[in-house]
């Protein structure tokens, strides 16, 4: 990361006649593409850049220098679990014997890959206290959708068709209600109490024969453990519903709590959060879904099963009519699975159990060190993350957005801001277990300094950032007048 703005687009480097590829000679040129009927052919070539190889490399490297990643610095983005992405995982994921496999190869020729899938699903089942996992979903939200389909599928197969509602706390991630809608479920919102946990008095009257189940994040998006989870799960089960665990906040539970042990029937895991696979600027992720015993037959097609034949163990793909159907082309983002398994094997049972406590230690340390200058709406011990409601002293008019932008000037990524929606000036901080005390101390120091700056020179904070490649951007202009391609950019003379 450097602060000199690069800003060019690859199209702006283009010179007619340049090329950046080399391909082998066509050995069968007697069969010519031009023989295809012309009305089936593209009439005008696509407007793509013409550049040489070095220019391409420099262009993207210069662009990357205007980007901030976990490898650049501290990334305390709440609910995103921005862990270190170990290099050995990357090495494993580029292994030639895996990268070259076609998803439709005969399974006899992909036994190593299927073993990876099976081994990872077995590890996740153990870590979560559930019976079986599918690794087919491509991302967290995709996992939610898959899990909710299983929830609906469970009711549908029993002929209980009136269960069309799902209960979701008001503090939930936006994907929970959105996934429910895509799954054809109606969302019923349950309120939070002042301490951030689910209001049981508000929940009870909602429970009837139309409830398919309830989705929960535990600890919730405020970093608070729902200590009534036993009661909640019992009430939902008693009314005939299933409990869904949104695994976005699984990290602090490692070593301490297994969702399957505390009443959850279905859950998804974000391998790109808890299991250290890189976020890649927004993907690829992977959202495995686990179910308790008795729901395995509903898992999406295909499933990977282990069979013993003549004393040999082999892995096979299995499709079943009882399943909810397929939710991905084949077995999901296999490359991400390789990374997650490498992480689990590196950690082993000795280290994995310390992830939760150490992530929780780091979050509480920051919280306790800053609560005299930032507004802490919910006191007491938090888990892996917590929420401040802006600066304690709000007289300067400096907002959470301003604090976030000022942090960028000091070489930190900002926390998640304006989420959850329960507080006006939410600032959600999640440090992860990989950050050292030195890093946390530096962050605390800078946060205190910004609080001081807000008093001494509020205008400077309100106009931050000042040292980044670009200054504060005009979001409204972009939305009112969307310019989303190079062609449009040229036409507009941007």
């Amino acid at each position: 990361m450097n602060n000199k703005f690069y800003g060019k687009l690859i199209f702006e480097l283009s010179q007619t006649g340049r090329q950046a590829y080399s391909l082998p000679k066509n050995e069968c040129s007697e069969y010519a593409l031009a023989c295809l009927p012309s009305h089936l052919m593209r009439q005008q070539a696509p407007l793509l850049p013409e550049v040489d190889e070095l220019s391409v490399v420099r262009h993207y490297i210069n662009m990357s220098n205007n980007n901030f990643g976990v490898d650049t610095g501290f990334y305390p983005l709440g609910s995103c679990t921005m862990k270190y992405n170990p290099r050995i995982n990357e090495e494993v994921a580029t292994h030639r014997e895996f990268v070259g496999l076609h998803p439709l190869q005969c399974s006899e020729t992909a036994q190593g890959a299927l073993a990876v899938y099976y081994c990872l699903q077995t590890c996740l089942a153990d870590i979560s206290g559930l019976s079986e996992f599918t690794l087919n979903p491509y991302a967290g939200a995709h996992g939610e959708l898959t899990g909710l389909m299983i929830m609906r599928g469970y009711h549908m197969e029993r002929g209980d068709l009136k269960r069309t509602k799902v209960i979701i706390p008001d503090s939930a991630h936006g994907t929970n209600p959105a996934s429910s809608a895509v799954c054809g479920l109606e969302v019923v919102v349950v309120k939070s109490r002042p301490d951030g946990t689910v209001d049981i008095d508000d929940l009870m009257p909602l429970l009837d024969e139309t409830i398919a189940g309830m989705m929960m994040t535990n600890p919730n998006t405020l970093g608070i453990f729902e200590h009534n989870i036993g009661k909640i799960a019992k009430a939902v089960h008693d009314c005939g519903g299933l409990m869904y665990y949104d695994g976005a906040n699984l990290n602090p539970m490692l070593g301490k709590v297994r969702p399957g042990d505390i009443g959850f029937d279905i859950m998804h895991i974000n391998l790109h959060k808890t299991f250290s696979t890189p976020h890649g600027g927004g993907g690829p992720g992977s959202g495995p879904v686990g179910v308790r015993a008795g729901l395995e037959h509903l898992l999406p097609n295909p499933r990977v099963v282990k069979v013993s034949e003549d004393g040999f163990e082999t892995f096979k793909l299995q499709c079943s009519d009882q399943s909810i159907g397929s939710i991905s082309a084949h077995l999901g983002n296999f490359g991400v699975m390789l990374r997650a398994l490498a992480y689990i094997l590196t950690m082993g049972r000795e280290q994995l159990k310390w992830v939760g406590p150490l992530a929780t230690l780091n979050a509480n340390y920051i919280k306790e060190s800053l609560k005299d200058v930032f507004e802490l709406p919910i006191s007491g011990v938090c888990k892996h993350e917590f929420v401040f409601d802006g600066l304690k002293d709000k007289t300067s008019g400096v907002t959470t957005l301003d604090v976030a932008k000022r942090l960028l000037d000091y070489g930190f990524h900002a926390p998640t801001i304006y989420f959850p929606l329960l507080f006006h000036e939410a600032l959600m901080i999640e440090p992860t277990e990989n950050e050292s005390k030195q890093t946390l101390d530096e962050f605390i120091h800078i946060m205190r300094q910004i609080a001081q700056e807000a008093k001494d020179d509020p205008e400077m904070v309100k106009t931050a950032p000042h040292n980044t490649p670009v200054r504060r951007l005009d979001d409204t202009l972009a939305a009112l007048h969307p310019v989303v391609t190079w062609r449009e950019l040229q036409a507009e003379n941007y």
Binding site: Y6, V51, V56, L101, Q111, G174, R349, R472, L473, V484
Partner: protein, 450 residues
């Protein structure tokens, strides 16, 4: 507790606990009722050193068999440039999250803008989103988009010539969305336009989904289909093989409303099914109905041109259950991959890839059928790099025989039908080897009969 990913010393842990006012790490879980706390140790394996992890995966890697598979069916073994591989491992791209803080994410935002521009060019559409998970889910999203745009219609028609691996995902989404999916029958491997017309005339269709090239590799003629769909107020959606669009008529040129598909064919390694990248492109008119992230141009406080996530009022983190989709992230790193790939290849390189693939595939089709063991399933139909053949050979036994020679004879798509794909990564010798294997297999079979 000393471990390479855990930086704290015991002393530091004590200091931190003291500041918090806790006595031990266990104390930090005092809010979790004892009966809910995990009792037993994990059963996962004991920790491995880096060398042991390497050995573990090397050993499993050796249990896979690398094949010249002649497999396609939506996923193609195209040339993967060294530069594209190296750029996606640049850690500033790899270890970043969604570009929420635009001032320190211009790298990600810029390449997504380039990606959107290139995909719009390739499909001949006006706009593209920042990418989807893959081609199957992108197609399901397009179906939902059509139903949302139509408001009171919930029936979607899909051509029988679409990739069945796409169809099965679309059907799953449709089932839970309450969307009725009906198939348009195929005639000689192509969509039956008369049947399509008859269905559209029922005036209850929200969208029509067809494919180019279709599952059998055929480049179908969609002349008049867009007008027909629009006459009956249905959106016209084309599922495409990305790389083919650099040479075959584009969804834009056919008059489609939405173009979707998988970007894997733009040089992404096969990786046993993922990660790939889905694309969804449409007209400017429908941009606010689009799922997923979109990056747009804007200016900073100093007037500099820069990029931001835009039109976020469509998305789940703002609209919750009223969002256009539940998709949260995109498939950013793979979008970067195909952006770098298209920068390297340019229009000329993409054409060359297709021209060579065409030549190799037509050569293979000719030599295979000249053995007398195979005949074209759809003779005379125009195809690019993939084709279906019928055979009297026992396909299971043929595949086992080919596997033993580190080959696979494409994909079995019906009792006596195989689908084969050839790209520029195959040589004439590869094709000859496959034909020889088939001939040898047949001789051995006949030998057995005698």
């Amino acid at each position: 507790m000393a471990f390479k990913y855990f930086p704290h010393t015991d002393e530091e842990v004590s200091q931190m606990l003291e500041r918090i006012g806790a006595k031990s790490l266990a104390d930090l879980y005092s809010d979790v009722p004892q009966e809910l706390q995990q009792k037993a140790e994990y059963q996962i394996p004991e920790a491995m050193s880096e060398m042991e992890v390497r050995r573990f995966f090397n050993k499993l890697g050796m249990q896979n068999i690398t094949l010249r598979s002649f497999l396609g069916a939506g996923y193609y073994d195209h040339y993967s440039p060294a530069v594209a591989q190296s750029i996606i491992h640049r850690s500033e791209f790899l270890t970043a999250y969604t570009p929420y803080q635009a001032e320190i994410s211009q790298g990600t935002l810029q390449y997504i803008f380039e990606y959107q521009s290139m995909m719009a060019e390739l499909t001949g559409m006006e706009v593209s989103n920042a990418s989807m998970y893959d081609g199957t889910t992108a197609t399901a999203e397009a179906m939902m988009m059509a139903v949302a745009a139509a408001k009171k219609r919930s029936r979607v028609l899909i051509s029988d010539t679409i990739n069945p691996f796409v169809l099965r995902v679309v059907k799953t989404y449709a089932k839970y969305q309450g969307i009725q999916v009906d198939m348009i029958p195929a005639k000689d491997g192509e969509t039956d336009h008369e049947a399509l017309k008859a269905e559209l005339e029922k005036e209850d269709v929200a969208g029509v989904i067809v494919a180019t090239p279709n599952f059998y590799g055929i480049v179908e003629d969609y002349t008049g289909v867009a007008d027909l769909c629009h006459e009956h107020k249905a959106l016209f959606i084309i599922h495409c093989v990305a790389t083919a669009l650099s040479v075959v008529r584009t969804p834009g040129e056919w008059g489609a409303d939405i173009a979707v598909g998988d970007g894997q064919s733009l040089g992404i390694p096969l990786s046993y099914g993922g990660p790939y990248v889905g694309f969804l492109c449409t007209s400017k008119k429908l941009i606010r109905k689009m799922p997923g992230r979109i990056v747009g141009a804007t200016r900073d406080a100093d007037g500099k041109r820069a990029f931001v996530l835009t039109l976020q009022a469509r998305e789940q983190h703002i609209r919750r259950e009223k969002a256009t989709s539940n998709i949260c992230s995109n498939q950013s790193l793979m979008a970067l991959y195909v952006t770098v790939y298209m920068s390297l290849m340019g229009a000329k390189g993409l054409r060359e890839v297709n021209a060579t693939s065409y030549s190799m595939a037509h050569y293979l089709a000719e030599v295979l059928t000249s053995t007398g063991l195979f005949e074209m399933a759809y003779p005379g139909k125009p195809f690019l790099c993939e084709f279906a053949v019928k055979t009297k050979l026992d396909i299971e036994q043929l595949q086992a025989f080919c596997n033993s020679q580190f080959m696979q004879c494409g994909l079995k798509i019906a009792d006596n039908t195989l689908l084969l794909a050839v790209t520029e990564t195959y040589s004439r010798e590869d094709c000859d080897n496959l034909v020889e294997a088939c001939v040898t297999f047949n001789k051995e079979q006949e030998g057995c009969k005698l």
